[in-house]
């Protein structure tokens, strides 16, 4: 039996299914605050761990879902490689399976891509107790529908990710951050847009408290040439990127409600006079307690984009924006296909799903 090592998980799902008892799928349990209320018996994937296959010259790694992100990154690092989507890491704890299910992409998202851009294949345990594989371990593969990428951001509501194959990228030879004082958030974003429209090796662009930060990555010669053209104060190893990615930055530390708004970069930043952290070159805007849910909802309705109640929201209600009714119907049908008894993380994403 090819899937033998997953027998205990298969049994747990079978048992839960038998009595229709919900399961709360858990990697390292570092994101229990995220999404709607958690119900059900915890099912831990912590024992489903380890790098299964890694050939650096193929740019592909296959890893069990319970493997720590930090552990995986160490192994990649030893070979001069990294994960392109820069998942946030809480050490210890954050697992790679959790990262895929959450679908959080780091600051490089507009430049290097998001989580699904790096997913090549998956081994999945569905709610009806079947273990299947989709995608594969090669970079180009269009055989069958793209179930592997469908799992990204599905919050464990469609299936239990057992194993995943990821495309990895070389760690840049050299990296630096340029700090530019720009008072106005919108001005910073238009500067970002202007720079990204030119062939500079930008891999992150963020703005907070009158300071724009632009990260450049590549060969030293290339980065230096771009840095000269862009200007600003150059620093190496800026801890800022890690701090905002793992939300250890002081911006996130007031303990209040954190809201995430994604908008087309050129949409003016709402309430720039109150605390707001702009990332993804302008497409991502983080708000704190000072800016209310209702007004953010309004601005998103008016100017486009999506609002997510990221942290400390009322989790009995919806925390994510709802897709339109036609798309919602499809979400429910997908749920029925993958998890007909609705035992996997029920309601974690939307009520009734």
């Amino acid at each position: 039996m090819e899937h033998r090592e997953f027998e205990p998980l298969l049994k747990a799902v079978g048992a839960a299914r038998h009595v229709r008892a919900p399961l709360a799928i858990e990697g390292g349990g570092t994101r229990r605050f995220y999404g709607r209320e958690i119900i059900g018996e915890p099912l831990s994937l912590a024992d489903c761990r380890g790098v299964v296959e890694y050939h650096p010259t193929e740019l592909v790694v296959t890893v069990r879902s319970g493997t720590g992100v930090d552990e995986l990154e160490q192994e990649l690092n030893a070979n001069g490689q990294m994960l392109g989507f820069e998942p946030p890491v809480c050490t210890p704890g954050s697992t790679i399976g959790g990262s895929i299910a959450l679908g959080f992409s780091g600051s490089a998202r507009p430049y290097r891509g998001n989580v699904q851009d790096f997913v090549l294949g998956i081994r999945l345990l569905t709610g009806d107790g079947r273990i299947m594989r989709f995608g594969g371990q090669v970079i180009k593969n269009v055989a069958g529908f793209d179930i592997a990428r469908l799992m990204v951001g599905s919050l464990g509501c469609l299936g239990i990710i057992l194993e995943v194959s990821l495309k990895v990228i070389p760690r840049p030879q050299y990296e630096c951050t340029l700090c530019l004082e720009i008072r106005d958030a919108d001005q910073a974003v238009s500067r970002f847009n202007e720079l990204t429209g030119q062939p500079y090796p930008v891999t992150a662009a963020s703005w907070l408290d009158g300071m724009a930060r632009i990260r450049l990555s590549g060969s030293e010669a290339g980065v230096d040439a771009a840095a000269k053209a862009i200007g600003g104060t150059k620093i190496e190893d800026d801890p800022f990127w890690h701090q905002i990615n793992s939300q250890k930055h002081r911006f996130f530390s007031d303990g209040g409600k954190i809201k995430k708004v994604s908008q087309k970069p050129s949409v003016p930043v709402f309430a720039p006079d109150r605390p707001v952290l702009v990332d993804w070159g302008g497409a991502l805007r983080w708000y704190r307690e000072e800016t209310g849910e209702a007004e953010l909802k309004e601005t998103v309705a008016e100017r486009g984009g999506w609002l997510e109640l990221f942290r400390n929201a009322d989790r009995a209600h919806e925390v994510f924006a709802l897709p339109n009714p036609a798309a919602m119907r499809i979400q429910h049908r997908l749920k029925d296909v993958f998890d007909p008894d609705r035992i996997l993380n029920p309601g974690r994403m939307y009520s009734g799903l």
């Binding site: 010259t57 090669v138 970079i139 793209d146 994604s262 999506w306 994510f320």
Partner: protein, 484 residues
């Protein structure tokens, strides 16, 4: 349903000029780029806007008429092969650029826009659309999305799935779904990735928003010449291990080199066992550094000679042979058949040796071009369809090659899609459970299975039959009976 009847039904909702019913004209649509499979459709519908697409789909739903979407008809897996009782919905009239947004670096386009015309339309802004299938002058963005098309530059810049950020999709149930978003996030499950590569079986794309990238400041190309395919393969691994991601890295074997050289005089060494074309792009300083590194790595891996294109003219010349490889091989033989398997690159030597052996066994010549960076092989089998039995033999050899790809941990299709062509091999690559799940997922968007029926995912019955056909080690029973 026969043509006359279909025409009558569709005339109720669509103007005459949007329908093709003439027997001769219908022939134009009988196949895509894989002409071994032909079937004229009952009717061709050419909508001019989204409303007409939706009106046509409504008629199909109400009358249970199969619908095959069609873009440029350049597909290489029979994805746009018509259904005898159904319509072909050709999106070729919906070919406008709707919006170019240089600030956010995105373009909103209709599905029938050709791939190249997007880059052409934004050239003056210093931007381009990255995925560049060799068919880019003729293939459409709708077809690219349905197949998740790739190109020479996709190791560095990604496939279609990495470069499309939002879609409007007309469903057979009558909805206009908005999938993905310009803000780089969208709520709910990730339907965007599901839609890309779904081979026209989940909805008709009526609008796409794509990413635009800045044209690199500088691009240079190195040609490495090798005495063995293995050395060339090792060189690719060495470049990647050094941390360089080339904009493109392509390999050609001796038969492909000879064919291309005879066709375009690109200056290829006709005695080489393999050449590599490696393009590096980015900031000038970086490219200069990387060119030197690649030069060194190729030499360390036993390149017998290295040529660096001196200027843009020579760069284009180097590429011209690779870009013309298919038609060049086409000149050597009345017909050729292109295979699209992908393998882990480390298995290259083994796979090419085995292909050579199979080529001898079947008495059919094979030329290999290879997207070497991402492991996507394109063996081109030369045959003559006029000779009785040759096409069947060719298809069988193709199938053996695909099974070889699966065997080394690869896949049966890297970029051309399954279509009707590789439907048998899907039985080998996926289990019954997996294929059943594909069908179930498809039904979430097309409950009646009217969109491109019979493509991409084989039925269980079909696989049972396929399994039975393989009992005699590749010796198909009844070789002269059509199996498609």
């Amino acid at each position: 349903m026969e043509t006359g009847k279909l025409e009558k039904i569709f005339l109720k909702a669509l103007p005459r000029r949007c329908l093709v019913s003439d027997r001769v004209a219908l022939r134009t649509y009988e196949c895509d780029g894989l002409s071994a499979y032909r079937q004229p459709p009952g009717l061709v519908v050419l909508p001019e806007n989204t409303e007409q697409v939706m009106a046509a789909l409504k008629i199909c739903r109400e009358n249970a008429i199969p619908v095959v979407g069609r873009g440029g008809g350049t597909g290489l897996s029979g994805g746009a092969l018509p259904h005898p009782d159904g319509i072909v919905l050709s999106l070729s009239k919906m070919n406008r650029m709707l919006e170019i947004d240089p600030e956010n670096r995105i373009a909103r386009v209709q599905p029938g826009v050709t791939n190249l015309s997007i880059s052409k339309a934004v050239e003056h802004l210093g931007l381009y659309y990255a995925p560049d299938p060799s068919s880019q002058i003729a293939c459409t963005i709708g077809g690219n999305i349905a197949e998740n098309a790739g190109g020479v530059h996709c190791l560095k810049y990604g496939l279609t799935v990495h470069n499309v950020i939002a879609l409007k999709v007309a469903t057979i149930e009558g909805d206009l779904l908005e999938i993905g978003d310009e803000s780089m996030t969208a709520p709910g499950f990730n339907l965007l990735s599901l839609m890309v590569g779904s081979e026209g079986m989940m909805g008709i794309v009526v609008e796409a928003t794509v990413k635009l990238l800045p044209v690199p400041e500088c691009a240079r190309v190195v040609m490495g010449i090798f005495e063995s395919v293995q050395d060339a393969g090792d060189s690719v691994a060495a470049v990647i291990a050094s941390g360089i991601i080339p904009a493109g890295i392509e390999m050609m074997d001796n038969p492909a080199i000879r064919a291309a050289e005879a066709f375009v005089n690109a200056g290829y060494p006709v005695d080489a066992r393999a050449i590599l074309l490696c393009e590096l792009d980015g900031i000038r300083e970086e490219v200069d550094q990387q060119i030197q590194a690649v030069d060194r790595l190729f030499r360390e891996n036993r390149a017998t000679d290295i040529r660096i294109a001196r200027d843009d003219h020579e760069r284009q010349l180097f590429w011209s042979g690779r870009k013309a490889a298919f038609p060049a091989v086409g000149r050597l033989s009345p017909d050729y058949y292109c295979i699209d398997g992908t393998i882990p690159r480390q298995a290259l030597g083994k796979v090419l040796t085995e292909i050579e052996r199979l080529s001898d066994e079947y008495g059919l010549r094979v030329a290999n071009v290879f997207h070497a960076g991402d492991g996507n092989l394109h063996p081109l089998i030369l045959y003559d369809a006029r000779e009785p039995g040759q096409l069947e033999k060719t298809i069988e050899l193709g199938s053996r090659i695909l099974n070889l790809c699966i065997g080394v941990g690869g896949t049966i299709t890297g970029e051309h899609g399954v279509g009707v062509e590789k439907i048998g091999e899907m039985c080998t690559q996926f289990t019954d459970d997996e294929r059943e799940l594909f069908h179930a997922v498809r039904k979430c968007l097309d409950p009646q299975s009217l969109l491109n029926p019979g493509k991409a995912i084989p039925t269980l019955a079909r696989c049972a039959e396929h399994g039975a056909m393989h009992v005699h080690e590749g010796q198909l029973p009844f070789p002269d009976i059509e199996r498609f």
